[in-house]
Amino acid sequence: MAAHRCSFSAVLFALWGLSLLTVARGQEATLEGNDRTAVVDNPESVAGAAEQAAGQPAAEDRRWEATAVEEVSPTEAGGGSDSPAPKPAASPPSVPRPKDDFQEELVIRPLHSGDIYTSFQFRTLWETDFTRENKVSHYRLFPKSLGQVISKFSVRELHISFTQGYWRTMQWGQPYLPSPPGAELWVWFQDSLTDVDGTWKELTNVLSGIFCASLNFIDSTNTVQPSASFKPLGIGNVTDHRFLRYATLPREIVCTENLTPWKKLLPCGSKAGLAVLLKSEKLFHSSFHSQAVHIRPVCKDDQCKTTSWELRQTLNVVFDLHNSGQGKNEWSLFKMFSRTLTEACPVASSSKIYIDITDNSQGEQFELSPATPLLSQAVVLGDRRTFSVYDLTQQITFGTMRSLNLLIRGKSSQGDMLRPLLHAERYVAGYGLQTGEIHTLMYNNHPYRSFPVLLLDSVPWYLRLYIHTLTVTSKGKDNKPSYIHYQPSKDRVRPHLLEMLVQLPPNSVTEVTLQFERALLKWTEYTPDPNHGFYVGSSVISSLVPSIVAMDTNNSRERPLFSSFFPSKEESSYFVRVYTEPLLVNLPTPDFSMPYNVICLTCTVVAVGYGSLYNLLTRSFQIEEPSPGLAKRIANIIRKMRGVPPL
């Protein structure tokens, strides 16, 4: 038992570190080096982290180096030799910023499969404190509907995503913001809240109204409280998972009615800025569509004295090359969105388009028009990427036509994509409707480093898991998880929750299998199409993956000698969350047309039992006397009427 506790605390410690990095990563992932706020944010998060727990110098050390390297990086940038890459970041802003701040950006990444990945990010910052002032009445850029939700339900962090389609990690690489198919909602509540479950119920109903989604189907049967997988991404030191609620609706269909309310939360609506591109008839004619809203508290300044709320709205779309109708590998804003850009959102402090040109430094894969002199570098998902930047706040970007229609003309040669270091897949094995087995495969494609992953599985109660059948094997050997958090289900009350910390050996496949039994439900508990099957939400795999930069062992690349002796410590690992496919499982069904028949028949059998026993209990044996014949009886009646003694 003591050993258990020890390992548990060690795990918690590791997770705490992980969450720290997550905080830093989340703030940094999408912001690039020459962005003013990114540089401001980084030391803040470190300061915040250092406040949370002294005695973690390693984290601070790493972060500081990362910042330093980013400053150095423009000199190393191979392709951008002619890019001056303005860096006003060195001077922290001395002028007081307005209380609200809005930024928008669009990242476009041509994928190796010929598809194209576009990712919109809209960030609204608001310096206010909902918790201190009860009534916040003045809203400028921040949407009032969400502000009221935060203050009424004591929300500390809210993450919600709606996804149509499945992200194919092996073809497309890692997404900037992962999300599972269907709807996902996870919320950290303030630790002052007493009735978390009641608040959660109300909150899901309110969000259901705000986003026109079936979030009201979130109840205790699909809500879990992960102990380790979901840590707060904003500032704050509460990691007690009693205040965390996580739920997915894998069946949720995402469509226009979800996009419209999402667009309404933007300060410019869909009238100006990047949001004019969001036309639903094009966005949903794609192979992957994911829209999300993230709300979290972030630091306002270096000292982290005041906090502000960050609302981050993201929309990720993968346009299919073959779906678009023309065989030519040619993309333009107009082709993708049926709109071109004419202006930035007037209230936006920054409005940019980034094109990932890392694999295209010499223009061998595609060519961009109009060309832009601006380049930027950022370490995204452990990889140093180079981007062409179009700044929409500059009039010159739009040229003489007063409109920007980016054109990406692909060339035939397609390079090899770096295999994602971590990916996972899942399926159900077995036949028949009685039992089955869930297989989860986790691939570690790193050639020589092993790393731990946290696997989170939330399985509905009607698939009764048997934890004693859990096996984890990698490379044919048993791989015992170092930490298991298992919460068995309760029928019609709560789902199974399984969290495991598994070490993935280098260059291996780790297989997790778990047997389950399919329950027969009441006839009213089936969905209207019961033979379609029941969905089981994606497993969530969270991990700190060794960075690709650190993996780079070939010395052929031009690097200063002083930087290449020890393995690069810079960004030695980065946080990745991978979602597996949701499962579709068939359950045995009763005959839905039979309730009356069944009630009648079963009651008949019970009545047969009751009747035969009653019969034997209440009667006694007697000798049967033959009853007189009919004629005799009639004669007797007549004789009785006549007053004559019967026969």
């Binding site: 027969l520 019970v606 034997l616």
Partner: protein
């Protein structure tokens, strides 16, 4: 007597060992007819695994055994083989119990028809009926904990028939603790013990009430001790709703051979509670009229009660059926009065064969639906009801004949026919 018994024992153990070693054991332990959510060995293992993970086995809805069982298994067994041996032992014990019990019991029906020679073989027959009953073998090979419950009930019957009041009360409380239904067996136990001690069943007599108070005290006392012991083992009362709530409210609708699963799967939600009460009261309800009618024959009352429980309980398995079927050779003297034993046994056999077939068609082949399996459970239960009521009829008829003579005459001297009126 000893030699055939040993032989029988050897055969029984060999059959079980052979089946257990064969690939069939896996298949058998998954059969819904053989294991219920209450008694499945897989769930016991799951409970142990949860205990090892530091999770209360009752926090989920997989484990429904009583705490003592889980600790028993926790300490006793780690390997299936050992358990297997334990359950075989259990069977052996039980068989001996029956043997002894049967030895004593038939005295009271030794009237005209039975010869002492026949009596002599009854224990052996009971042992054979239990040990070689395919239902028992199946539930033993499936390592169903139903065998454990049966053993406790058998011990209770034995101690009652031996006249040991204290042991009888203790085993009855253990049986009640394992699954609530054996509670109804306290009526026959009281009747039998009073019969042995020549206490008349008379509500006006103080000795009658005094005996009842004594027995109730022993019964409730041991029940209290067991429940508190479970509480101290677990440190919480979680097991009460998880075991007894599970038995009474029937949340798990996994198909079995009983009447509950499909009925409550198809039930209209607002009538659910009503029918739940009706069905559960139905199990307990027969105690009072049966004990009034059979107050002179407590052993037959035990048989009737066991049969009623195993037919109408919420999660019946074939193990429960085999328990009351083991009594059948005791009533071999009733065979001449049975009316439809041939039909009933044919139906029972046919149903037993059709269970796996229709299950396969529904669950694996997909060419049938749930109604097929449900129909078979209905038929199986009707056959059981007919069997039991037939035996009841035969018993009452024989009692009548014992009083009035075997060859009854009508007033006019012709041969009479007996009817129930």
């Amino acid at each position: 007597m000893a030699a055939p018994l040993t032989l029988l024992l050897l055969v029984a153990v060999t059959v079980r060992a052979a089946l257990f070693r064969s690939s069939l054991s896996e298949l058998i332990s998954e059969r819904v007819e053989v294991v219920s959510p209450l008694t499945a060995w897989k769930r016991v293992i799951e409970g142990l695994a949860l205990l090892d993970l530091g999770v209360s086995p009752y926090s989920g809805d997989v484990f429904h055994e009583t705490p003592l069982t889980i600790y028993l298994f926790h300490f006793l067994v780690d390997y299936a083989e050992v358990t297997f041996m334990v359950s075989v032992k259990k069977n052996v014990f039980r068989k001996q119990k029956f043997a002894l019990e049967a030895d004593r019991y038939p005295l009271d029906c030794l009237e005209l028809i039975r010869s002492p020679k026949e009596m002599y073989y009854i224990p052996l027959k009971v042992a054979m009926f239990y040990l070689l009953n395919p239902f028992t073998i199946l539930s033993c090979v499936a390592k169903s904990t139903c065998g454990l419950n049966n053993a406790i009930i058998a011990l209770f019957i034995l101690s009652t028939i031996k006249g040991n009041v204290l042991l009888s009360a203790i085993f009855l409380s253990l049986a009640t603790y394992q699954s609530i239904y054996p509670l109804t067996l306290c009526a026959p136990a009281l009747l039998y013990l009073m019969q042995r001690q020549y206490i008349p069943v008379n509500f006006r007599r103080a000795s009658f009430w005094w005996f009842i108070v004594q027995y109730a005290f022993m019964y409730l006392g041991s029940l209290f001790v067991i429940i508190c012991l479970s509480f101290f083992l677990l440190g919480s009362w979680d097991y009460l709703p998880s075991v007894y709530g599970f038995i009474l409210s029937v949340p798990d609708l996994t198909p079995n051979i009983g009447l509950f699963w499909y009925f409550f799967a198809e039930m209209f939600e607002h009538f659910r509670l009503f029918f739940l009460c009706v069905f559960q009261i139905n199990v307990f309800f027969y105690t009072i009229p049966l004990s009034i009618k059979l107050k002179e024959h407590p052993v037959f009352l035990i048989f009737m009660q066991l049969a009623v429980i195993s037919i109408f309980k919420s999660y019946p398995t074939v193990g429960d059926i085999s328990l009351y079927m083991a009594f059948l050779p005791v009533w071999s003297h009733l065979h001449r009065f049975l009316r439809n034993i041939f039909l009933v046994s044919c139906v029972l056999l046919a149903c037993s064969a059709l269970f796996p077939v229709l299950w396969h068609l529904w669950i694996y082949a997909g060419s049938a639906n749930s109604n097929f399996y449900y129909a078979i459970t209905l038929l199986f239960n009707v056959a059981q009801i007919l069997l039991v009521s037939d035996y009841f009829y035969a018993f009452l008829r024989r009692e009548h004949h014992l009083t009035y003579g075997l060859y009854l005459k009508r007033k006019d001297g012709s041969e009479a026919t007996l009817v129930l009126k």
